[in-house]
């Protein structure tokens, strides 16, 4: 029996390794997935006034005052944005708060085509062709989603595409809490 012990060693070592990986997997599900914590949390949203797409009006920060709003940065050239789109529509409906879109580093004509193909879940779309507003928001890519409270502070920033879990577990509860305050 004792002779057999060393042969068990690799299996035991591997089991320990798996244990660590499992712990990592479980722990990570409660973690914020971005490596750089969002620098914008609890900061007031930057001031801006954006043009709209085509002839439609854009929007400015003053339009958001006093309301809980969702802001989503997207672009027509962004494939994950396409995948996120139906979730955005669902989010806008279930959250019961207005969803504003910001078209980031894009050509208005392409964005219009994108929105007419997939439908627009946005109440209003502003354009940020050079990404200047994106820099102020701390955006480093698209899609990114922000939740802004009634006083204009950013309370949530997701630098990844939306997933049903993120919507149900993170965004919706926060929206409810913010609506009450």
């Amino acid at each position: 029996m004792l002779r057999r012990l060393p042969y068990l060693l690799p299996a035991v070592a591997f089991a320990a390794l798996l244990g660590y990986f499992l712990a990592a997997l479980l722990k990570s599900e409660t973690h914020d997935p971005s490596e750089l914590p969002s620098v914008m949390l609890d900061q007031p949203a930057p001031d801006f006034a954006l043009e709209g797409l085509g002839d439609k009006p854009g929007f400015a920060r003053s339009d958001l005052a006093g309301k809980v709003v969702l802001v989503n940065f997207f672009a027509s050239w962004c494939v994950p944005c396409r995948a996120e789109h139906p979730l955005l529509a669902r989010l806008a409906e279930t959250a019961g708060v207005p969803l504003y879109g910001i078209d980031y580093k894009d050509k208005p004509a392409d964005a219009e085509r994108f929105l007419s193909q997939y439908g627009s879940p946005f109440r209003t779309v502003g354009v940020d062709p050079k990404g200047r507003l994106g820099i102020d928001f701390g955006v480093t890519g698209v899609p990114e989603t922000f939740l802004i409270d009634k006083s204009g502070k950013i309370r949530f920033h997701r630098a990844l595409p939306l997933t049903p879990e993120a919507i149900d577990k993170e965004i919706l509860p926060l929206v409810q809490a913010l609506q009450k305050s």
């Binding site: 994950p80 701390g138 480093t140 990844l160």
Partner: protein, 159 residues
């Protein structure tokens, strides 16, 4: 040599090597250059680390703070996380300034907090707003200073 003795010798040698490796590993982990701890500018301000500790500092490059020395050999700027700011100096002898290093962009530096609260960086990585790329490329780009956040590949498109 008897089989039993030979086995004992083999096991002893194996254990000895393993012990040696463990000693080397522990020694390496404890020495200053091998590990770097992540920190934000706020962390540095509130809990200044010991001067020999290697730090990986992340934040945004503060607009208007970038200055190049006249001989082009060092780059000075400030890193901010919205709450605190840390002055950084980077000697370009350590490697190229990444093409994407820009005011207002995300950046990660590695080095030590020096005297006067100035962070002496020997590694400079600018955040890259690129889509998914093969991890080999992402890792490799890191080496030339393009650091990519954890942007995942496209989630499944609904058919």
């Amino acid at each position: 040599m008897k089989r039993k003795h030979r086995r004992l010798l083999a096991v002893s040698v194996a254990l000895g090597l393993f012990a040696l490796a463990t000693a080397l590993v522990l020694n390496a982990l404890n020495s200053s250059g091998a590990l770097a701890f992540f920190a934000t500018p706020t962390d540095l301000e509130q809990k200044p680390p010991p001067p020999e500790r290697r730090i990986r500092l992340g934040g945004l490059v503060e607009t208007g703070s970038v200055k190049r020395a006249a001989d082009g050999r060092s780059l000075d700027f400030r890193i901010t996380d919205g709450k605190s700011t840390v002055p950084v100096t980077y000697d370009i002898a350590n490697g190229p300034v990444p093409d994407l290093f820009r005011e207002g962009q995300g950046v990660v530096v590695e080095g030590k907090l020096g005297s006067g609260g100035i962070f002496r960086a020997d590694t400079l990585l600018a955040k890259h707003d690129e889509r998914y790329m093969p991890p080999e490329v992402a890792e490799a780009l890191k080496r030339s200073g393009h650091w990519q956040g954890e942007h995942p590949p496209a989630t499944e498109a609904k058919p």
